[in-house]
């Protein structure tokens, strides 16, 4: 099992969600996040006061998938979330030791 954490542009959420569903991923968690990578923020002015806003709104998608569909899932996110500009986001993948379904104590890949 693998965990995919994808940080994407908020405007790409619907496209990525649909692409993941089409790739056979059934469950995911969406978080509203703020952050920045190499992308620079922007400046705001309120009555002459200047504020640099470097933490920009992002969406973080978390989903745990079986090893065999990992590549397909990553491809789906890449295709749906890419605009080619700075600020498109990142994907992080890590190994998951165990998954447990709370309802019936089911364990392993079938629980995800």
């Amino acid at each position: 099992m693998q965990k995919i954490e994808a940080i994407i542009q908020p405007s790409k959420l619907d496209a990525v969600k649909q692409a993941l569903l089409d790739a056979g991923i059934e469950g995911m968690t969406i978080l509203e996040a703020r952050g920045h990578g190499r992308q620079k923020g922007h400046t705001e002015f309120y009555r002459g006061r200047e504020y640099t806003v470097d933490l920009l709104p992002k969406i973080k998608i978390e989903t745990v998938v079986a090893d065999e569909i990992l590549d397909k899932a990553v491809e789906a996110i890449l295709a749906a979330a890419r605009t080619g500009k700075i600020g498109d986001g990142k994907i992080f993948i890590s190994k998951i030791d165990e998954a447990i379904r709370i309802r019936n104590d089911e364990r392993g890949p079938t629980a995800i």
Partner: protein, 468 residues
């Protein structure tokens, strides 16, 4: 206004009589004195109904300026943790000043007394009934005049709350502004608008200062007192290093638009009649707000590359402030010009001067109301036109020139005296009252409470509950 009212009613009576003449000639007996008196009283009643309708609507419009107008405008500009506290301060003025006004406030402003403060004849509204008071709105019930003036007395201290936003204890604010209303607002209102007031233009003042709807009484008084508060209380913790962005410009935008709408009643209602003078004030108000908004936004556009929504609505408020003293005295084109000057100058004060000096006039009550009011009061002396409002009469009843454009340079001196007195009483009065409150119950919340936010620490609630 008053002589015209009498003339109008006479004219109406006469034309009515002439229309009826052929009928009298054929069958009826000639009109008797009692019939004429009856007709005159009917005409007077009709005029009172018309004027009173506009005055009650105007009074409601002015109340609309404080809550929701000012409450939303200020509410959006503070940080999320203080939104309720600043709204509650405006609302508290709606309640507290109403009671103070009924007890002493109205009497101190509008009873006859010395040139500087009224007496206590009208305390507890004694003698303020449904018959007109000839000095204050000859064609409306005295209570209409009283309640309309109350709405002004409410919004003036509410404007000051913008200067000490996010850091003053609620009960200190309530005590301070109650005392301020009694010892600064009422005397100044008496001087400018009260019978025999030192600055009264139409009721026998020594220095007749033209102030149609409160450029000195409301705007300078609140704006200058705001600056004194900002300096006395000191900056908010973290200002100007930490970001203190407005938490909801949507609220501020809505509030500013409500202020604009309400201001039409604030200025046009100050004609105390529904006649042509109200139209003049209404038109001028609209023009000045628009031109000031355009100029503020244009300054930003040139200076920062983008016209902001907050800038545009702030400009509109600056224009409304500046036209307040002039609304019923000037022609429409000078009104546009007054708005233009106010838009540019207030922009400069708020965006540049505040940062040069480093004071924390948190919501710019001084930069917009103090400066806009001063500009408006002085320019009223320049552009006042006797064609709009023949306020100065010679002993023989002839109309005298009003402002500098009509050759009355002396009026500019009167306006300066009015401005100087308004600045003076605001600075001295506010300083003394702040000191008294500071020494008795203190002014600022503790640093911990300021950090946590005034909504929780002063009121025990939050403006937005994102968990429910």
């Amino acid at each position: 206004m008053r002589p015209r009212t009498v003339k109008l009613s006479l004219l109406a009576t006469l034309s009515f009589l002439f229309c009826g003449l052929p009928a009298f000639a054929q069958s009826s007996p000639p009109a008797t004195t009692t019939q004429i008196a009856q007709l005159q009283s009917q005409i007077a009643n009709a005029q009172m109904s018309a004027d009173n309708a506009w005055m009650l609507i105007s009074a409601a419009l002015v109340l609309l300026m404080t809550g929701p107008g000012l409450a939303l405008f200020y509410g959006g500009l503070v940080r999320r943790k203080n939104v309720l506290s600043i709204m509650m301060q405006s609302f508290a003025m709606m309640c507290i000043i109403t009671v103070v006004w009924a007890f002493f406030g109205y009497s101190l402003a509008f009873s006859s007394g010395t040139p500087f403060i009224g007496g206590l004849q009208h305390a507890f509204l004694r003698g303020v009934g449904l018959q007109p008071n000839p000095s204050y709105g000859a064609t409306i019930p005295a209570q209409s005049y009283m309640i309309y003036q109350l709405m002004f007395a409410i919004i003036t201290p509410a404007v000051i709350t913008g200067a000490f936003a996010e850091r003053m204890k609620f009960h200190s604010m309530a005590l301070f502004l109650t005392l301020w209303s009694i010892f600064v607002y009422s005397p100044l209102a008496h001087m400018v608008w009260g019978k025999g007031g030192f600055l009264s233009a139409s009721l026998g003042g020594a220095f007749p200062c033209l102030d149609f709807a409160g450029g000195t009484v409301v705007e300078i008084a609140s704006g200058i007192s705001a600056l004194v508060c900002a300096l006395y209380l000191g900056k908010r913790i973290g200002y100007p290093k930490e970001p203190m962005t407005p938490h909801s410009l949507v609220l501020s935008f809505t509030g500013a638009c409500l202020l604009w709408v309400g201001w039409l009643g604030f200025n046009a209602g100050s004609a105390f009649s529904a006649g042509p003078l109200a139209t003049s004030a209404f038109v001028n108000t609209q023009f000045a707000a628009a031109s000031a908004a355009i100029l503020w936004a244009a300054c930003e556009w040139i200076h920062r590359g983008k016209p902001s929504a907050l800038g545009a609505v702030s400009g509109a408020v600056a224009g409304l402030v500046a036209i307040t003293p002039a609304a019923g005295f000037v022609q429409p084109m000078p009104a546009l010009l007054i708005g233009t000057v106010a838009g540019i100058t207030c922009y400069f004060m708020v965006v540049k001067v505040k940062f040069w000096f480093g004071y924390d006039d948190s919501l710019d009550a001084f930069g917009v109301h103090g400066i806009g009011g001063t500009i408006g009061a002085l320019l009223t002396g320049v552009f006042a036109s006797s064609a709009i409002n023949p306020i100065f009469k010679s002993a023989s009843g002839a109309t005298l020139p009003s402002g500098v454009i009509e050759g009355n340079w002396h009026q500019l001196i009167n306006q300066f005296v009015g401005v100087a007195i308004a600045w003076g009483i605001s600075i001295v009065g506010t300083l003394i009252i702040l000191k008294v409150v500071d020494l008795t119950i203190g002014l600022r919340v503790t640093p911990e409470h300021e950090d946590e936010g005034l909504d929780i620490t002063q009121h025990g609630e939050e403006g937005y509950d994102f968990a429910s």
